[in-house]
């Protein structure tokens, strides 16, 4: 029975991904990609990886969907959304097929490695959720560098602004009808999202959730509020904004250095201090993740277009 469910789910995943790649029209491709993200999130839940399922639904389907939809809307004005023939379909199909076959071969041939059991070390980690323990304690290096990658990507996006626009508010100007659906959601959703996002972060140390999933929900709150014009778009030069961006990586780095100064090694958390340290790092990371992700989706600074 459960195998039948997984087979049907995987058929759906492959169907919508095929439609996203081969379907006619960019708008349709974007919609199918968002649907794909939601199906894959269900797949992760079926695999028992609930933290990944939350991240995929919030980031893969949610934020990436907003990013692609906004871009599609702007590109439509530049170039007609005409159906295009794929260039060189045969070599591309051969390359794609070869990669798939190689991976399928690897699946059946490669042995199962002897993995160290995280559960044994969990009591010393300061977190009850093994995924949080890996993210913020055992493999803290990855997470620290990831938070810096986010900053680097945001700097890259900001640099795409025209010189004259540098001091303008970030992102395109959104228009929401005062009595429309967006304006309504812009007032109703943020309080709910705020509670849910903070809950995900707080619960993440012990059960499903975490700084990335919670931070993404908070980024969604910021985005909805900006699109509904409840929150004015910020300027890149604002001090408070820049402080929020570096708060997470900064606190993470300082705690790593403090651990080294206290006699351990860089980024090692002693069992006694691990729990409060993880909570502080997660809280700081959440603020930075939420602001960085929202600004990544909003885009570079743009001066308002002159009225036609």
């Amino acid at each position: 029975m459960s195998l039948a469910l997984d087979l049907a789910l995987c058929a759906l995943i492959l169907g919508v991904s095929l439609a996203a790649v081969a379907g006619a029209g960019v708008f349709r491709a974007v919609i199918f990609f968002i649907t794909y993200g939601l199906f894959v999130a269900i797949g992760w839940a079926r695999l028992g990886a609930y933290d990944v399922a939350l991240a995929e639904a919030a980031i893969g389907a949610g934020l990436t969907g907003v990013l692609l939809l906004t871009a599609q809307g702007r590109l439509r004005r530049v170039q007609a959304d005409r159906t295009e023939r794929p260039g060189a379909p045969l070599p591309a199909a051969l390359a794609g097929g070869a990669v798939t076959l190689a991976l399928a071969w690897a699946w059946f041939v490669l042995p199962v490695p002897e993995a160290p059991d995280v559960a044994q070390a969990l009591p010393q980690s300061g977190a009850g959720n093994p995924v949080t323990a890996v993210l913020l304690n055992f493999r803290a290096w990855d997470t620290l560098l990831e938070s810096i990658v986010l900053l680097a990507a945001l700097l890259g996006v900001w640099m795409l602004a025209r010189d004259a626009d540098w001091d303008a508010p970030l992102g395109p100007r959104y228009h929401a009808r005062p009595s429309g659906v967006l304006a309504y959601f812009g007032r109703v959703l943020p309080p709910i999202g705020l509670i849910f996002g903070v809950y995900l972060v707080w619960a993440g140390t012990e059960t499903v959730g975490g700084a990335f999933q919670g931070g993404t929900v908070l980024a969604g709150v910021v985005l909805v509020a900006m699109m509904a014009q409840v929150l004015p778009p910020p300027r890149a030069s604002k001090r408070l904004l820049r402080a929020a961006l570096v708060l997470g990586p900064g606190v993470f780095l300082l705690s790593g250095l403090a651990a080294a100064a206290l006699g351990g090694s860089f980024l090692s958390l002693s069992a006694a201090l691990a729990k409060p340290a993880i909570l502080i790092i997660e809280a700081a990371l959440t603020v930075s993740i939420a602001v960085t992700l929202a600004l990544l989706v909003i885009g570079p600074a743009e001066a308002p277009e002159p009225a036609p």
């Binding site: 702007r74 530049v78 199909a93 798939t100 399928a104 699946w107 990855d142 997470t143």
Partner: protein, 100 residues
């Protein structure tokens, strides 16, 4: 058995993404294809990490990291596409433009 189904789905998604990345001229569709490749690899990796019974938390944490990095890379890519469209009026690369 279910794990094999998810792993093979992941493998097929990677291939589909590679095909889209090579064959589709519209740059926004290439960003979508790139995301499919990454997502397929995550699925393959996650299924491989679950072979010991329960899902191993180490691959889970790496996949969450990967999903966030994929979003930041996509945001930069989409920003570049929009900037190209703004400066040239095209959403395809110059040497792949059918009507220059």
């Amino acid at each position: 058995m279910s794990l094999t189904v998810f792993a093979l789905t992941g493998a097929a998604l990677v291939g589909l993404g590679v095909y889209g990345l090579l064959a589709l001229p519209h740059l926004l569709r290439r960003v979508i294809a790139f995301n499919l490749t990454g997502s397929g690899l995550f699925l393959f990796f996650g299924a491989a990490g679950a072979r010991g019974g329960a899902v191993d938390p180490v691959p889970q944490a790496l996949i969450i990291t990967g999903i966030v990095v994929a979003l930041s890379a996509s945001a930069l890519a989409v920003g570049l596409v929009v900037a190209l469209a703004r400066s040239s009026g095209k959403v395809v690369l110059p040497d792949e433009d059918p009507a220059p």
